[in-house]
């Protein structure tokens, strides 16, 4: 069992009291995968609490815009949010690390770090000044490298590559001569189709197929070095959480845990059929990043991470902790998961 949240004993109000919570998200309502987590969370909490805590889910833009979820939970407009912590980099740079960093840890390793490696208490520490309690809320697994209309055969091909690649990944690309472009998601499809950009990343086969990116690009690159194990988050307004009796607090935590595992399971399963459809029905060309390119990207990523950490002490503290764990788990996984995968899944 993961360690329980050190959230106080919970108020000892009479157990018949009912609570109505709002949960705002950064995804469109019913968004496949990511957007199902808050829906399932709400469903499970409503059921487990016997209706004492009912959670209503608001899609992006419904109550607040997608990137206002953090502020909305912090100020108590909504009791909960579902999003990804790297969106809050502007508020506290360390938040990026709890989602995913270029060449960082995969899903299994992130769950290990967060739940038993001390990562979660660092996350709570980082969010505490905002009055927000974070809970892991899903994982996409290793994402795909993105959709390209230009082939990447050598480092040279990265020069001038116009790619929508947000966050740290974009900064890494820029170091190798790429041109990270910021685009509203709304213009992404058109921009890729007309050639205003050469490439974009999205999530993985299941989401990418649903978004229809195969209709706007030819090559599908792997692996997603920029997001190797993206953790989604539930945010709970700390005051609202404290006002719950202890049993409802436990229900919130357990429901979040179940959803956290659930999303990874769903992606693992659904990506299979989606990739098959992309390759065999839609004739997409699947490409692996050339080794030479991956090696240089990784070097650039280390440089970028070190620079970012030098700017912010909290970021440095969290990153050091993260990297120590990654080193350890990396050594172990080389002789366990990796060694096994290499043998077991050879074609």
């Amino acid at each position: 069992q993961p360690p329980p949240a050190d959230s106080g004993a919970g108020s000892s109000v009479q157990s018949s009291e009912t609570f109505q919570w709002k949960l705002v998200t950064s995804w469109p309502k019913n968004f496949p995968g990511l957007g199902m987590a808050p829906e399932r969370f709400a469903e499970r909490v409503n059921k487990m609490s016997g209706g004492r805590l009912t959670v209503t889910v608001y899609g992006a833009g419904d109550l607040v815009p997608a990137f206002e979820v953090f502020d909305a939970v912090s100020q108590g407009t909504a009791e909960m949010g579902h999003s990804a912590s790297y969106y809050w980099k502007g508020k506290t740079p360390a938040s990026q690390i709890f989602t995913s960093i270029p060449f960082g840890m995969n899903a299994q390793q992130m769950n290990g770090w967060l739940n038993y490696g001390g990562g979660m208490s660092l996350w709570r520490e980082v969010y505490a000044p905002f009055g927000i309690l974070p809970l892991a809320g899903g994982n996409t697994g290793v994402q795909m490298g993105g959709w390209f209309n230009k082939e990447i055969n050598s480092l040279e091909d990265l020069k001038g590559l116009k790619m929508r690649l947000p966050g740290l990944g974009g900064e890494v690309l820029a170091r190798l001569g790429g041109v990270p472009v910021t685009l509203p998601g709304r213009e992404l499809f058109t921009a890729l189709q007309t050639g205003a950009i050469d490439a974009t990343e999205w999530v993985g086969p299941y989401n990418d197929l649903a978004f229809g990116l195969h209709k706007a690009a030819k090559y599908y690159y792997y692996p997603g070095w920029h997001e190797p194990g993206t953790v989604l988050e539930f945010m709970v307004n700390q005051a609202a959480f404290n006002s719950l009796p202890a049993d409802l607090q436990a229900i919130v935590e357990i429901a979040a845990q179940s959803v956290n595992q659930d999303m990874l399971d769903e992606y693992t399963s659904r990506n299979i059929a989606a990739l098959d459809a992309l390759v065999n029905e839609h004739g997409i060309e699947l490409r692996r990043w050339p080794d030479e390119v991956l090696v240089e990207l990784r070097k650039a990523a280390q440089l970028v991470m070190a620079e970012e950490a030098a700017k912010d002490p909290t970021m440095k503290k969290v990153l050091d902790h993260y990297q120590a764990f990654q080193q350890g788990v990396g050594a172990y996984h080389r002789i366990s998961e990796d060694a096994y995968n290499q043998i077991a899944h050879q074609e």
Partner: protein
């Protein structure tokens, strides 16, 4: 008269702000065009530049709202209004400003104060790695809107009052 001096002074401020916004508009246009040229012709991109365009865009209509009010640029449903006498129009505008516009602005300020203050407290920066990182300034534009529009609303109030008190008619 003291009252008139104040109205005139606010009018001048709004006029200056309007001209400033005009220059911001020109700057925004040039930078937005530069983004396209840099990317298409030179394969160069700058997230900071793209964000600068967005900030200018926001500044344009928040700082320019008072100027627009001074020039009667905020659209009305004038089915009846256009037929009414100057006195009656002044009544509508006086009451509208006191009961609708000023409370609305006050409410925006009240609701947004903490929101903006929090952004300042953490010197909130960009979501993007190469971003401009002045989100706290961009968010402050919400309060700037309240200030510029609110100020001009006071001037309009003075003008309406003058019509109703039957003073010499002023521009």
């Amino acid at each position: 008269m003291v009252g008139w001096g104040l109205v005139d002074r606010i009018d001048r401020i709004s006029e200056r702000l309007g001209q400033l916004c005009g220059l911001l508009m020109l700057l925004m246009l040039l930078l937005a065009f530069l983004v396209v040229v840099l990317r298409y012709v030179f394969d160069l991109g700058s997230i900071a530049l793209q964000e600068a365009v967005l900030y200018l865009h926001g500044a344009l209509f928040t700082l320019g709202a008072g100027f627009t009010l001074k020039h009667q640029g905020h659209v009305r449903v004038d089915i009846f209004y256009r037929e009414w006498s100057p006195r009656r129009k002044a009544w509508v505008d006086l009451l509208g400003t006191l009961l609708l516009l000023l409370p609305f602005l006050g409410f925006i300020a009240l609701q947004s104060w903490d929101y903006v203050a929090n952004a300042w407290a953490r010197m909130e920066g960009s979501v993007e790695a190469g971003g401009l990182g002045l989100v706290y300034l961009q968010k402050s534009l919400i309060l700037a809107l309240v200030l510029t529009l609110g100020l001009q609303a006071l001037a309009e109030l003075g003008r309406n009052l003058a019509v109703l008190l039957d003073r010499e008619s002023r521009p």
